[in-house]
């Protein structure tokens, strides 16, 4: 196991949280502009989190449960630890992408636990929906990552040096984009967090510091996926080009969110099954046909 602590990588790791706020701020602003609104200032997410940390605990009956208090923190830690691997790895060893996929799924599992411990019917339904969809999307995520790793012929994420993989693996790239929409709860696949159906599901009961950790993790997850797509699909090593590609991906996500409405649970599941089929197809294809 190699612990790569170059100053750049370390600085990048600690600046991930401000970057995630910035991306969220840009997202809100552009979204508002697309919807003919003025929108909040770009630094609004900073204010939101600071305000939430100053607030007290929830009065929910779930508050007696210790898990209700510590689970948001665990969710935050698991989500944050994903940045140890991408885009500029700090930890690297042989087959480290298996641990990476494991931590990713753990983060999803903690999200489900959050719904269960919150003792709210909406939380239960949100968790149920997430379990239902997880059967598909975590599998697709793992298969897609394997496809990229096999195609690049490497044994650790830190050796990932390819660029413009989007041209080499177009189907896997599209699959990764689908997973991003499902995981970051962006329409048309925000079924798990459907605000007008089950009032945001899992986060319904949370308030104060717990909600702050929750929001933080949500921002981090969006940032994580933007970095992941940027790294795997475009693979720019230059920091300026990397930032530009991140912004392009963010714009694509915002555009998708602004121009679609939400699918129902069964419809989302049916589409994910098709995506799973394509992900498997791509994994098989790279062993026989390469271009």
């Amino acid at each position: 196991m190699i612990l790569k602590i170059s100053i750049f990588n370390f600085l990048f790791l600690i600046s991930v949280i401000p970057i995630s706020f910035l991306l969220e701020g840009i997202r809100r602003k552009i979204m508002a502009r697309m919807q003919n609104r003025i929108g909040p200032p770009i630094w609004q997410p900073f204010y939101d989190i600071i305000k939430l940390f100053e607030k007290g605990d929830s009065d929910s009956s779930a508050n007696e449960n210790i898990l209700f208090k510590i689970m948001p923190m665990i969710y935050f830690i698991t989500t944050f630890s994903l940045f140890l691997f991408i885009p500029f790895p700090i930890i690297s060893f042989q087959l480290d992408f298996i641990l990476f996929i494991y931590i990713f799924i753990l983060s999803g599992a903690v999200y489900i636990m959050l719904g269960v411990v919150s003792n709210s019917p909406y939380g239960y339904i949100g968790s149920m929906r997430d379990i239902y969809l997880m059967l598909c999307y975590e599998l697709i995520f793992a298969i897609t990552i394997f496809t990229f790793i096999i195609s690049a012929d490497i044994q650790s994420l830190s050796y990932f040096n390819e660029s413009w993989m989007i041209l080499k693996l177009p189907i896997a790239s599209v699959c990764l984009f689908f997973i991003t929409l499902v995981e970051t709860r962006i329409t048309p696949y925000d079924t798990v967090e459907a605000y007008t159906e089950i009032i945001g599901s899992v986060e319904t009961e949370f308030s104060g510091k717990s909600l702050a950790f929750f929001e933080l993790s949500k921002n981090l997850k969006l940032t994580f996926f933007i970095f992941l797509i940027s790294m795997l699909l475009f693979g720019f090593k230059d920091l300026i080009m990397f930032s530009l590609s991140c912004l392009v991906i963010l714009l694509a996500l915002i555009f998708t969110e602004a121009t679609t409405c939400r699918y129902r649970l069964d419809q989302t599941f049916r589409i994910l099954i098709i995506v799973l089929f394509f992900a498997v197809f791509e994994l098989i294809r790279i062993n026989f046909i390469m271009w």
Partner: protein
């Protein structure tokens, strides 16, 4: 998760007005649903009792914020029937103009809200932006943006001039330019179709059985429209079609309402073209004899019914039955067997307006009082 009970309301993001819907769920599907109302009850009928006609009009104006033309229009029509008075053509035209503008703003708001329910926030924002054109016209004509209060017995409060007509023309053109684009989007968007088609299907037979009215009945293929069937105001003199669709699902209701916006624009264009010359009569105090009369108008949501009984120059009894009253009986039936994600879609597709609808049910000896026709006559006539 068998027999898992989920409360939807009174405070819920999916419903705009307070109501408590409890659904029993088996897995992800609804087994049965029960609706409890009474959170927006204002006692309008009781408030009206003992009031003079002019005072009553002021109360009726404030029944609802969205149907704020339909209720005063119906009330004034009922009183005028009782007085055997036929308003001048110009007054009729102005009333029709405001009615149709009210219908457009209600339908546009509804269409935006429906898309908001299925997560299409951008369209919601765009619809509200274009509703602003209609509200600006109404503000210029009546001075108000929500409760227009333009109706008066025998007359209207404001006259309109040529500048107003030019303003209406300009604003309608702007509205029309966008509405067709939105209409095409709604018609062709695959995700919207996936959410709305075959959801909340009401058959033609069922619609007759539950005596549904308005756009919901028209979406089932029943050509029912008070404007055509019992013309009032200036509807005899304008040319328009009753929009009907066959399928009876949420998507047909959407299409019917979108088409009706276009029909209403057509009506307004005819009205401002053929507006009769002259001045509107001055308002004079009303002297009214005892009696009882009914009036019906086509509100944005369907047939709106008013019954008014006058005794000693004051209102003795008023009965108001808004269109939402008819829909609520079928609503819980439609939910059975559907998914939880369909609840907001079905509820919004009915376009309920609880503020209009909430009335008191008389309970005697612990059970609901049901009256026969004779009992009703003895008690109220």
């Amino acid at each position: 998760m068998h027999d898992f009970k989920l409360p939807i309301g009174p405070h819920h993001a999916a419903i705009d007005e307070p109501s408590c819907l409890r659904v029993s769920m088996d897995g992800n599907y609804i087994v049965e649903a029960s609706l409890r109302l009474g959170y927006a009850h204002k006692g309008i009928e009781k408030l009206l009792e003992g009031k003079r006609i002019e005072q009553g009009l002021h109360i009726v104006d404030h029944i609802c914020g969205i149907c704020s033309v339909a209720h005063p229009s119906c009330y004034v029509m009922t009183i005028e029937k009782m007085l055997n008075y036929e308003p001048t053509p110009r007054v009729n035209y102005i009333r029709t103009l405001v009615s149709e503008l009210g219908r457009i703003q209600s339908h546009i708001f509804w269409a935006g809200f429906m898309l908001h329910e299925i997560g299409f926030e951008t369209m919601f924002a765009y619809f509200l932006r274009d509703r602003e054109h209609v509200l600006e016209i109404l503000e210029r004509l009546t001075g108000n943006r929500v409760h227009f209060a333009i109706h008066k017995v025998k007359t209207v409060r404001n006259d309109i001039d040529n500048d107003d007509i030019n303003f209406i023309k300009k604003k309608l053109d702007e509205l029309e330019k966008n509405i067709f684009t939105y209409f095409r989007t709604v018609e062709n968007d695959k995700v919207i179709k996936a959410r709305l088609v075959d959801v909340g299907i009401i058959s033609k037979r069922m619609a007759r059985h539950y005596s549904l009215v308005g756009p919901i009945a028209r979406a089932c293929g029943i050509p029912i429209d008070i404007r055509k069937n019992y013309p009032y105001e200036a509807y005899k003199e304008v040319d328009f079609n009753i929009i009907t669709k066959k399928d009876g699902d949420a998507f047909s209701r959407m299409l019917v309402r979108m088409d009706e916006i276009i029909e209403s624009i057509k009506i307004i264009k005819q009205i401002i073209k053929n507006m009769p010359e002259g001045i509107i009569p001055q308002f004079t105090p009303i002297v009214i004899k005892d009696g009882m009369e009914i009036g019906i108008v086509e509100a944005p949501r369907g047939e709106n019914f008013h019954l008014i009984k006058i005794k000693d120059g004051k209102i003795d009894r008023a009965r108001i039955r808004p269109p939402t009253f008819n829909f609520m009986s079928i609503f819980t039936k439609l939910l059975e067997g559907r998914e939880i994600g369909d609840v907001p879609v079905i509820l919004a597709s009915m376009d309920p307006c609880y503020a209009c609808m909430e009335r008191v049910v008389v309970i005697k000896n612990g059970s609901t009082e049901v009256m026969t026709g004779d009992d009703f006559k003895n008690k109220y006539i």
